[in-house]
């Protein structure tokens, strides 16, 4: 009996020892990473104390479209790499290789569907993200670099979608590329040369497929990753903008002018200005993130955030706001998989291989080009159409230079409101008409 007991105790002790040694190993791993990459210091300095606005309703989640986009880009690149193992970029084998991936490769149909439908979803979110920034005026200083990077990313993603659309080498792909590249011919003097350069020759063929493939797998993804990293870095530096109708009001009577709010502000949004015999804080609404750190740290509790429409509450970036962003991401991924599994008949149209001798009855580009396609069709002259499309893009790029100051609320900017909302509605209508007609 004693022998049995002593053996049990020895066994229990051995198990306990192994658990504690496992624990040491686990924290040892984290320590190893900390020694080499200083993740704890980064977390403490950059993430731990940081706060941001707490979402109040569903519309606030639209503001997390940037986070969701980052995740979707990672998904797109992952599925792209999986496709790259089997895809053959030649006129003879491209269509057959895509069909072989769908037919024969394990889960091939799943990640082909994800790659195709995700590309449409990414551009939808890019437009939603861009329209939201335009509506809340978040393109102004100090956020101009984000806006310029964002418009560059829009162009890169559109070209990525255009180049990727040709790769399955189906009838729709081929003829959409014919129409898309042919429109450049309207440009005087350089039109023909430009079309030749885009196509790698007079007609769409193997050379076109090769160069579109090269763009699609090297230059474009690398550029998108680099610009996205810079875009996120600049967002992290200046923070997420407060809603346009927010008013930060320091109480001039209670304020003792200690300057604590200026010291604790992570976004350099507070300036101390002389008013009479003391210095009072002036909060720049374009820089303020409404994170409320100044409110919490103020010794005389004289700063308030007010809005006619809502309360302003803040929360820590980690883990609270991260959870909100994760929830938004999961919701969008949910919609993506509903489309992948149940709506593939609507989104996927590559049914026949490309035939240069047979023009299909209805040739349409992918949804994100329908508005510009319809605009080109409506205008009498193709050159005017190109000028209109690129002109609108140019105006969007230089928006921070056109609108530098003044209130950001749409209610107080009737002309801007008319132009932007009118532009968004026109874009949506042209997209619908382009898809239906």
């Amino acid at each position: 009996m004693r022998d049995i007991l002593s053996r049990l105790i020895a066994f229990y002790n051995r198990k306990e020892t192994s658990q504690s040694s496992q624990k040491e190993t686990r924290s040892g791993v984290l320590d190893w990473f900390d020694r080499h990459f200083e993740w704890r210091k980064y977390f403490k300095n950059e993430i731990k104390g940081r706060r941001t606005i707490k979402p109040q309703d569903v519309w606030d989640y639209v503001g997390y479209s940037g986070t969701v986009l980052t995740f979707l880009i990672i998904v797109q690149m992952t599925t792209g790499i999986l496709l790259l193992f089997y895809y053959k970029p030649s006129v003879e084998f491209a269509f057959a290789s895509v069909q072989a991936i769908r037919n024969d490769v394990p889960y091939g149909m799943l990640y082909t569907n994800i790659h195709s439908i995700n590309s449409k979803l990414i551009l939808l979110l890019v437009f939603i993200h861009m329209f939201r920034i335009m509506l809340i005026g978040a393109y102004r200083g100090p956020r101009e670099p984000q806006w310029y990077l964002g418009t560059a990313l829009l162009a890169l993603m559109l070209f990525s979608g255009f180049s990727g659309y040709l790769l399955p080498w189906s009838q729709q792909s081929y003829w959409a590329c014919v129409i898309g590249t042919e429109s450049a011919r309207a440009i005087p003097l350089i039109g023909d040369g430009l079309v030749s350069m885009l196509r790698g020759g007079k007609n769409i063929g193997g050379a076109t497929l090769s160069r579109f493939f090269a763009f699609h797998i090297t230059i474009l993804p690398m550029s998108i990753v680099a610009l996205t990293w810079l875009h996120i870095k600049s967002v992290w530096k200046v923070g997420v903008i407060a809603p346009p109708d927010m008013r930060a009001s320091p109480n001039e009577i209670d304020c003792i002018g200690c300057g604590t709010c200026r010291k604790v502000c992570q976004f350099d949004a507070v300036r101390m200005i002389e008013r009479g015999d003391k210095k009072l804080p002036a909060i720049n609404p374009d820089k303020c993130n409404a994170c409320r750190v100044c409110v919490d740290k103020c010794p005389s509790h004289c700063i308030t955030f007010k809005s006619a429409k809502r309360r302003f509450l803040s929360e820590p970036i980690f883990p609270h706001n991260t959870l909100h962003r994760a929830l938004a991401t999961v919701a969008v991924i949910f919609a993506l998989f509903i489309a992948v599994y149940y709506l593939q008949g609507i989104f996927l149209r590559a049914k026949e291989p490309a035939d240069p001798l047979v023009t299909p009855a209805h040739i349409k580009p992918d949804w994100y080009f329908l508005a510009s396609y319809q605009l080109l069709r409506q205008l009498p002259n193709e050159l005017f159409g190109l000028i209109a499309v690129f002109g609108i893009y140019f105006l969007i790029v230089i928006l921070p230079n056109l609108d530098r100051s003044g209130p950001r609320e749409l209610e107080r900017r009737p002309v801007y409101r008319f132009i932007v909302i009118g532009g968004i509605v026109t874009f949506v209508l042209l997209t619908i008409i382009g898809g239906v007609v």
């Binding site: 069909q99 072989a100 769908r102 037919n103 024969d104 149909m109 929360e315 883990p319 609270h320 959870l323 909100h324 994760a326 929830l327 999961v330 919701a331 991924i333 949910f334 998989f337 509903i338 992948v340 599994y341 149940y342 593939q344 008949g345 996927l348």
Partner: protein
Amino acid sequence: MPKKYIIAAAIFIPMIFFSNEAQSQNLFLLQDMCVKCHLLGENYGKRNSVLAWKDSAHFRADSGCVECHGGDKYMYIDFKRGHIGLPSRAEAVAICGKCHAKEKSDFLSKRAAAPTDFACTVTCVDCHGYHYVAKADAELFNKANCGGCHAFDRAAPIYKTAAKARGAMFSIETKIETYQNENFPVDSARSRLDEIGVEYVGMIHSEPMNKFERVTKDKTMKSIAELESQMEKSSPGKWKIEGAVVVTFLAIVALILLGYQAITEKS
């Protein structure tokens, strides 16, 4: 213009657009010189041959009179240009084999392997017909075709086996169409079904009929069953169930996140 001419034009001009379909098809057939005489000639029997050919698989494949009877389709009967008139039954295998070379070699190997008392002088036209050549089907094993040489009771089990195999292939074809309508990939299944079909036809021509049932069961039906089980693995139903699992998992993750959010806010 007199009224009567206007009325006549109003009656007859629309007739150009609403002409009899058979009449317009006959007009089309008049391109071929053989058809011109054999269709419009007084010999009613010959007229039937042309009409039977018009409904056949050969007509649809653009294979006309001269492919079997020789000659030049733009000339009248010209024996100097190779017209052989009415070929004998014995010549049928050589004539059909000019285009259907594989079927001819399969068939001749069966004849060579057949025991001498079988003494089967059956040729291609005995089963497939000559002018109305229909697509090969289990229905070819019928009383009219088989009963010409022997009692049908020997052919009846063969007919049943062929009908079963054909039915199984037809159900796979229907499944392929359903998958295709739901935008599912069907190329592998389709090419495999074509391979099975070609093997099966080759087997009908090359294997002795007394071994037909066993070979159909061992090879063809087994291949069809394998194809069917492969198609089941990637069926739309299974895909949708997989989708439901993924989507439910994401919904659960979202609920967990919501719960965790509520807990962190409370704390």
